[in-house]
Amino acid sequence: MNTNQVATGSGRLQRKAGLQAVPVRRAGATVLHAVAAGIGVVMVFPFLWMLSSSVKPATELFRFPPTLLPSQWHFENYARAWEAARFSRYFGNSVVVAVGGTLLSLTVCSMAAYAFSKLHFRGREALFWLVLGSQMIPGIITLIPSFLVVRAIPLAGGNDLLGRGGYGWLNSYAGLIVPGAGGAFGVFLLRQFFLTVPEDLLDAARIDGCGDFGIFGRIVIPLAKPALAALSIFTFQGYWNDFVWPLVITSQDQFRTIQLGLIVFRQRFTTDWGPLMAGVTIATAPMLLVFLLAQRYFVRGIALTGIKG
């Protein structure tokens, strides 16, 4: 049987079929919910175990049989984690980098998306496809050259005008923020959204004497709030969770982000799983919070663009 025949052969019956109520058997529904809940437990359990381990007294971590709830709640693991190994500094760095990176990326990408959707210039389509095509190139290939570029930023970190002699943007917020801000994905997402803004609206504004910056700032951006919300979440996630780039360009404790902090942490607390899990909880909490507050943007954004986390 092929789908073509299924579709055309019974076209007349479609309406009738639509009216037929499909009986959902209670037993079937129970099984369905049991399966859904079972899988849910598997997906959530590692998080519960993390939380549980982070508040257990050390002796209980190794007890057999294992328990999910501690006999006494030991929140001091969080205090130990927060004070140890400059964890608060790592956390602060991550906040600066993720917020700064998100703001920069949104600005840069929305401007480019405006040009690609609402302005007319020669070679627009070709340039857009070049940008879009770059998404198929594995990011890892740019790692070494990007490192060299960041090290050779002129007049930064002791460099001369030609970018020699110093460390450029290595070990700096700029180095952590700027290279990641020009993502093709953001331009693509926003351009798709901007295309839906009617030309008439823009023309009306032009007649009223509004320039391109006015149209961009007062009409297009306010209309694109849902798309900007989705993009800002993904960008924040990208910066917050990133590991490879900060690993490569920071060598000083002062500029380490929280993901690197976890590694430092592990070396320090080797087998002390209580504070370690408290640290992991602290590092995970901001993303969980953002997710809970903005789930619908997450799901819509992924379905729209297929970004892979």
């Binding site: 479609q14 529904a29 899988i39 480019a112 050259p145 990641g180 996630q237 993901q259």
Partner: protein, 287 residues
């Protein structure tokens, strides 16, 4: 005017995306330690990576094998479990769909490092949860990440946990695009549930599957963080991957040209696999 709007983005794009791709190609033909001047090396890096006699060559081939093994398992599992989860969440009788969807997606937003740390604790050979469960069942404890046969499968299980939420969401979007009328028509023609799945759902989801497979291959072939955190490539190099080898050579040994050649070979592998996927899963779908 367009130039003003484009300038910031294009500057970043050319400096940190397009430029580096070309630079990487050039670097891969040089010998460069990051400090002294790069020296033209011809194809020496490529021949050293692929057919050299040094231990690094054997390691590279080992890492290629590991990476392909990891990716194959990941892609198949992410695709099939992701589809199963999407069908489950999309099922007509299921209530609180948004809740289940969010719960299954939760691991995706967790960073690779944090997820690895959690699983490091679960897999702990002495007192990890998994071994405590085995102990309870009267089974021998396993050294999950310390045994060369178990290390990679253990990482794969963790990565599947962290990745299926993504493919589920993509499949969900695909499922919602399939006209309900097709299913109803098939039902009237007497098609069973399995037949409807086989002859409607699977063929109509083909473009989605192609997308899932290609994106999943691209991201999994670059696996790094999990390996870095959980096993550091060990035990006995059972979990070294191409990206891990590249990182070691570039930022521990400062063989930047040599590492660039590795990254370009990985790029070619990814490209070839993407083309192969398009052939396998591509093709037009007609309603």
């Amino acid at each position: 005017m367009a130039l003003l709007f484009l300038a910031p983005f294009m500057t970043l794009f050319l400096t940190f995306r397009a430029g580096p791709v070309l630079a990487s190609l050039v670097l891969s033909f040089t010998s460069y330690d990051g400090l002294s001047r790069p020296v033209w090396a011809g194809i020496a890096n490529y021949s050293n990576v692929l057919v050299g006699t040094e231990a690094a060559t054997r390691l590279f081939w080992k890492s290629i094998g590991n990476t392909l093994y990891y990716t194959a398992c990941e892609v198949v599992l992410e695709m099939s479990i992701g589809l199963a989860l999407a069908l489950l969440v999309n099922a007509r009788g299921l209530r609180a769909k948004a809740l289940w969807r969010s719960v299954y997606y939760l691991p995706v937003i967790t960073s690779a490092v944090a997820a690895s740390m959690i699983w490091l604790w679960i897999y702990n050979s002495q007192t990890g949860l998994l071994n405590l469960v085995l102990q309870g069942l009267g089974l021998p404890k396993q050294s999950w990440l310390g045994d060369p046969r178990l290390a990679m499968p253990s990482i794969i299980v963790m990565a599947v946990w962290g990745g299926v939420g993504w493919s589920m969401v993509i499949y969900l979007a695909g499922l919602q695009d399939i006209p309900v009328s097709l299913y109803e028509a098939a039902r009237i023609d007497g098609a069973s549930g399995w037949q409807r799945f086989q002859y409607i759902t699977v063929p109509l989801l083909q473009p989605v599957t192609l997308f899932v497979v290609i994106m999943s291959c691209i991201s999994n072939l670059q696996v790094f963080s999990q390996v870095f955190v959980m096993t550091n490539g060990g035990p006995l190099n059972a979990t070294i991957t191409v990206t891990f080898q590249m990182w070691v050579n570039a930022f521990r040994f400062f063989r930047l040209g040599y590492a660039s050649a590795m990254s370009f070979i990985l790029f070619l592998v990814i490209f070839a696999i993407s083309v192969l996927n398009s052939r396998l899963f591509g093709g037009r779908v007609e309603y």
